[in-house]
Symmetry: C2
Subunit: 394 residues, 2 copies
């Protein structure tokens, strides 16, 4: 069976995502569409709006055939590690093509740029390190380095989508999957990634805009496939934001010593002192972010760090875990997805985990902990891992 | 000036406490009555019903002249360490007499019993250790040992009040304060320590009964001195129980590894596994206690342990701290209390802390942390330490 992969957060699944799947089926003709999806904590360093099971159901309702989980140690990372985990899993699932939304660029250009980048890795690192002490954000510094070293670089990396797509392409090169996986960028339609409001008349709105509208109690039916909307409908009281975890975060920052906070992943340059100084007076998550944010420490970087604090992810454990090939955690499938899994099962090099139990839990330590903490956000959020089975969608 | 000391929790201050002060003034004729009072976490391993400042104000309104804080590392302990901290502080404050409520016994009997106990410490420890593995609670085992070694022991130790009084007497002997401090037990009147309900017509009710009545919204005016009642009146929305900290406790037990929990003070015999196993499904503090309670692990013992978990008090830090002579933290005084402090100030061997600042905070690490965590229980609980000054009562 021919399989096409997508890396997604579906926070929540909307018409833009459905459009991508439609285009994938039309242009790439796969038998199955597989999504590797962030679980309960996401790439921008925040809790998922709805838990991974609700989002899996929405994705299946929206046309995905198989949903597997991107482990939390990868899902809460900048593009490089996010892509590393996703491509490892999709590569292990033997996909034939990868679709991702971009602002511009052809598959061949992504591949060519990725190859150049991987080959010149040492040189680029050296140039980046030279600029390391500046307050300029990573993406901006990378652009400077590229315009210096490769004036004819075929891509612009000034949008989050192009950056992510490029990171996938790089991982495909690094993981030696170029002959296996066709790179298929799809020019995005409709709203930009962070477009804050729903445009009148458009049927595509960004996930950010949809979340905001839902929080205001506005009707968003027009922007979601009907079946996906129905899957979400009864779950909105369990919709989470950082606000729902702010008390726990505040407690953790108070009760932990600076020495303990120093051991948290990505806690660098004495940030633990800054966090401890500011948390006592902070009245909300937003207020806290505004107190600690600087040019150097952007909102997203801080949100990721605070996610690691909330989940108590240590430098040592995280670094070890990021070097380890992740297991494939199945969240849900329809008949086609199930058939694909049956076909692949015996050829897989990594464990395929459908049920979490005493035997399989060691593969999912981080996700189990993240799920237990996510569930503290609302009393109605069910148990996320133990005793849960993949969703079977008809 | 002649000073008489009292060890108290005042949770909250009531007519029974006012009666004690009245009797102290009548029988012992002090110039000042000094209370060393638990701060925000108490001897039975629970958050104080009202914060230490409200309870200080109530105590001053009820007739105490000077209130100092029993540091949290002592206030959350069984009788021995509770008494050790309290008598160190009162001894350092040069009190002349100590009053405490008991069921029975004269000062001379407490002193005699304490002397015998201190002299035979090694023997008693040996006998206790022999019984150490049994499921019988500490107090019960001690009674068995005493009836074996000292059939004519002059006291019964079968009530919490007699046990506490006896612990004070022992500390007076151990700390070589027998010539300085007169031991003055006072036979208690009215309700027993844990008497659950208010008896009709009685003007004395236990603190437990008063808290229960307040939680049900019942009128308790008859059981508190009027001025103390007035000090409490506006603060009842900030009345705390373990329920207000259950989410934080649950989070802490989930997010901490068994290795980290093992380092918590009093975490023995693999209790960390039991706590982690049971917390996930527990729906309330009460439910959790019922899941983990056994004959061997009594409610009070577990509540103390969970207090150490909530406050993240490690074995290493606690043991070091319990060996250190505590500073004297002043919470409030009236004119007489102030005059006494002025008289004593220059003779004190330990630091006297009236204001917490960068210089004095090192003396109060544990209390500052406990106050910060206590304040997470309700948004209206004010900052407990920094920028707070002793209450001056007219």
């Amino acid at each position: 069976m021919r399989a096409c992969g997508i890396v997604a957060e579906y926070n929540p699944f909307h018409n833009g995502h459905a459009y991508q799947i439609e285009q994938v089926r039309k242009q790439l003709r796969p038998d199955v569409v597989i999504a590797v999806m962030s679980g309960n904590f996401l790439q921008r360093g925040e809790p998922a709006f709805l838990d991974k099971w609700t989002r899996t159901e929405m994705a299946l309702a929206g046309g995905v055939d198989l949903v597997v989980e991107l482990p939390v140690q990868f899902s809460t990372q900048p593009a490089d590690y996010f892509a590393k985990g996703a491509i490892q899993i999709l590569g292990d699932l033997n996909i034939d093509c990868l679709s991702f939304g971009v602002e511009e660029g052809l598959g061949e250009e992504f591949l060519q740029a990725a190859r150049w980048m991987v080959e010149n890795d040492a040189l680029i690192s050296h140039e980046m390190t030279k600029r390391g002490a500046s307050d300029v954000p990573y993406a901006k510094r990378m652009e400077e380095v590229l315009s210096q070293l490769a004036p004819n670089f075929p891509l612009h990396l000034n949008s989050p989508n192009n950056q992510l797509g490029f990171a996938y392409a790089k991982e495909i090169v690094k993981q030696d999957l170029v002959d296996q996986i066709e790179i298929a960028p799809l020019i995005r339609k409709g709203a930009g990634y962070h477009e804050p409001s729903i445009k009148d008349g458009a049927h595509i709105a960004s996930a950010t805009a949809i979340r905001k509208a839902l929080q205001k109690g506005e009707d968003v039916q027009a922007y979601l496939p009907k079946k996906a909307f129905d899957s979400m409908r009864g779950k909105l009281e369990q919709a989470m934001t950082w606000d729902d975890y702010f008390d726990l975060l505040k407690y953790q920052l108070i009760v932990s010593s600076t020495r303990q906070l120093h051991d948290i992943y990505q806690m660098t340059e004495g940030l633990e002192y800054r966090l401890k100084d500011q948390i006592i007076e902070a009245t909300s998550f937003e207020d806290f972010i505004n107190r600690i944010k600087t040019k150097r420490y952007t909102r997203t970087r801080l949100q990721r760090l605070l996610t690691y604090v909330l989940l108590s992810f240590s430098k040592e454990e995280m670094e070890k875990s990021l070097d380890k090939r992740p297991a494939i955690r199945v969240l849900g499938f329809n008949k086609k997805g199930q058939a694909y899994l049956s076909e692949q099962k015996h050829a897989l090099h990594t464990p395929l985990v459908s049920n979490v139990n005493q035997k399989t839990k060691e593969w999912l330590n981080f996700d189990i902990l993240a799920g237990e903490i996510y569930a503290l956000g609302h009393e109605n959020i069910p148990n996320q891992d133990f005793k849960r089975h993949p969703i079977k969608f008809d």
